[in-house]
């Protein structure tokens, strides 16, 4: 183990910072306008750097949203994170929005934050629901490791694929969940299957099948597996869809 061990555990181990500098810190936003207001300066920097890749931007309730071309998101994020004038070192959230509208595109949303400059930026890209555009965006996992589970959840709930994610599996739902992607608007609240179908599936599942495909490949215990898992493994299944 290479972890550093504290030499004197009795010594005060932490520093108290920001004591007595109330003027140095920002204040609670009051009377935030619905639309308009000063945009995040990073938008202009992005336009200067990437040009037409950056689409429109809007300021709503104090937060700036900038639209980025679908295939270029990871590139833009990598620059925002590494450039010292931007320094977006923190990824807050990755999620998606589907509107109650058959035409309006699905939006993938990244909430990123610069702790150094105290800035917040919402990056969006649009995926049209024309049936031709693939539901796929580049993964920002190489930029922020925190994107790992957030992207997996987004895939799990919306079916959006994140190209370049090392291990894009379902996370909150089980691996062979067959009903689709629950947060899509065409997914009914009670699920796609009837109660009797759900019961049938539950009863048919093998409770002995406890390990995921990945773990089995680690364990190399193929011979000890229940038959249905061996079948799934033989079929090369990785993600339950």
């Amino acid at each position: 183990m290479s972890s550093p061990v504290r030499k004197d555990p009795a010594a005060p181990a932490f520093a108290i910072v920001n004591a007595g500098q109330p003027g140095d810190r920002p204040a609670t936003p009051k009377k935030v306008p619905h639309k308009g207001g000063a945009a995040n300066p990073s938008v202009e920097a992005l336009r200067a750097k990437f040009g037409s890749v950056i689409g429109r931007h809007e300021v709503m309730w104090g937060d700036t949203t900038v639209f980025v071309e679908r295939t270029k998101v990871a590139e833009v994020c990598a620059w925002l994170q590494s450039d010292p004038t931007q320094s977006y070192e923190y990824l807050s959230d990755v999620t998606a929005v589907e509107y109650r509208d058959h035409v309006r595109p699905i939006e993938v949303v990244w909430h990123i934050r610069s702790i150094k400059f105290r800035r917040f930026l919402r990056i969006k890209c649009e995926i049209p629901k024309d049936g031709k555009t693939p539901l796929e965006v580049p993964s920002v996992w190489p930029v922020w490791k925190g994107a790992d589970w957030l992207e997996r959840e987004c895939y799990d709930m919306f079916g959006i694929k994140f190209a370049g994610h090392p291990d894009l599996r379902r996370i909150l739902l089980w691996e062979d969940f067959k009903e689709g992607f629950p947060l899509r608007k065409d997914f009914p609240m009670r699920g796609r299957f009837s109660r009797s179908e759900q019961l049938k599936n539950a009863l048919a599942a093998d409770p002995e099948a406890r390990y995921s495909m990945e773990e089995i490949s680690i364990a190399d215990a193929y011979g000890d597996l229940p038959l249905d898992m061996r079948k799934r493994l033989a079929g090369g299944e990785k993600v339950g869809e």
Binding site: A10, A13, I16, R25, D93, I171, P182, S212
Partner: protein
């Protein structure tokens, strides 16, 4: 010379366990295991007793909160926010309405602001006390568990007097609170604030210099500041690694910038530092509560905004207009303008935010929870790698996870 050494190595290798080398074992912890703090399942690949690899599994509690929220009016979602991070239920209630109020464009009253600060800091105390108690149990100390749970019970009594419920408080409404604090409540809180630091000192004496505690926590699960940021850790997890980021200071809400409190920041980013940071946060919460009690102004709790606030009951039952108003607010629900908003707060676990997208109807198009312990937990494979199996329990405890929030 070379030959001699070869022979020696061969002999010693033979003398140990010849066939064991290179064979890793796969073991499974949870989901039904008290030390995983809920239904977390960890699959560990072990080399002897050392963790080579950890694969976490979550989702056993998934109940689709975000989907349900798309079918509910804003006030109707508030009970769901109790049930995700159930140790911070008041804090979640407040976080939810802060986001919703930004979306509606509502400015809350001064008394409500201070009451909400009190609610948030009380739930921070609850959450950190539960963390301390359960972590002590995990590591083998029983007494601080009893002390911290006793104090937690006192806070629950206060919350019960205010909202009627201990755990699932649902204490806020868009534009205000469910109720003002009852008579005598403030004195009850003062009494708690007098007693509580003593208990904290006792726990401190039991743990901070305790050789077993130090031995079981120092140097475990170390995250460097860069790693902690890159993995998206937040809250005490991030600050223990030495990154000074607290939403209350950096992106303040509820006038937190006017309170005099400090943000503890660790240096080593190990389990011990996380303990120190959380203990110090408890003390700072007490400071904030004392200041909040001092400044608690008189006046109304709810805003005077008929878009969201129900008319008084006696008017709703006696005047036609008020009755219609009441009916429309309950049946149709308040409608925010089209827009979207993400308001983060500093929950005991870290940066928690609710992201709302509204299309102008009374139900959100998208209600997203940014779960801090979900993101914090995603770093556990990195943290436990190379540590012993028994240390996995301590590291997992230090993350302070609540499965209700992770699975939602």
């Amino acid at each position: 010379m070379t030959a001699t050494r070869t022979v020696e190595v061969a002999i010693s290798h033979q003398g140990l366990e010849p066939e064991m080398a290179g064979e890793n074992m796969l073991i499974n912890i949870g989901p039904q295991h008290p030390a995983t703090h809920g239904v977390l399942r960890l699959v560990l690949e072990l080399d002897g007793e050392t963790v080579v690899r950890c694969i976490p599994h979550v989702g056993y509690l998934h109940c689709g909160f975000e989907k349900i929220g798309e079918y509910r009016q804003y006030n109707q979602i508030i009970p769901w926010t109790d049930r995700e991070d159930y140790l911070n239920s008041m804090g979640n209630n407040v976080a939810f309405v802060l986001g919703a109020e930004r979306l509606f464009g509502i400015e809350i009253t001064e008394r409500c602001t201070v009451l909400r600060v009190i609610a948030m800091e009380l739930s921070r105390i609850i959450s950190h006390l539960v963390w301390m108690g359960t972590t002590c149990i995990d590591i083998g100390a029983f007494t601080p568990f009893l002390w911290s749970f006793q104090e937690r019970e006192n806070v629950y009594k206060l919350l019960e007097g205010w909202t009627g419920a201990r755990l699932t408080t649902s204490g806020t409404r868009v534009g205000g609170m469910i109720a003002d604090v009852p008579e005598g409540w403030v004195e009850g809180l003062r009494g708690f604030l007098d007693r509580f630091p003593k208990t904290l000192d006792e726990c401190d004496r039991m743990l901070t210099r305790n050789a077993i505690w130090v031995g079981r926590t120092v140097g475990l699960g170390v995250m460097s500041p860069q790693e902690a940021l890159n993995y998206g850790l937040s809250g005490p997890m991030l600050r223990a690694s030495g990154v000074d980021y607290d939403v209350r200071k950096d992106f303040p809400y509820l006038d937190y910038e006017t309170y005099d409190f400090e943000v503890p920041v660790g240096t080593n980013g190990d389990v011990y530092d996380r303990y120190l940071v959380r203990t110090e946060e408890l003390r700072q919460s007490v400071r904030i509560l004392e200041q909040a009690l001092k400044r608690l102004p008189d006046g109304p709790v709810n805003v005077d905004d008929p878009r969201v606030i129900l008319p008084p009951k006696h008017k709703a039952t006696s005047e036609m207009e008020s009755m219609i108003h009441h009916f429309k607010l309950v049946m149709e629900g308040p409608r925010p303008p089209i827009g979207e908003v993400y308001v983060p707060i500093e929950s005991p676990k870290g940066e928690k935010g609710y992201y709302f997208v509204s299309d102008g109807t009374s139900k959100p198009v998208r209600w997203r929870i940014r779960p801090p312990s979900y993101v914090n937990l995603s770093a556990i494979p990195k943290m436990v790698e190379g540590h012993l199996l028994s240390d996995v329990i301590a590291i997992n405890a230090s993350i302070d996870i609540v499965m209700g929030e992770i699975d939602r």
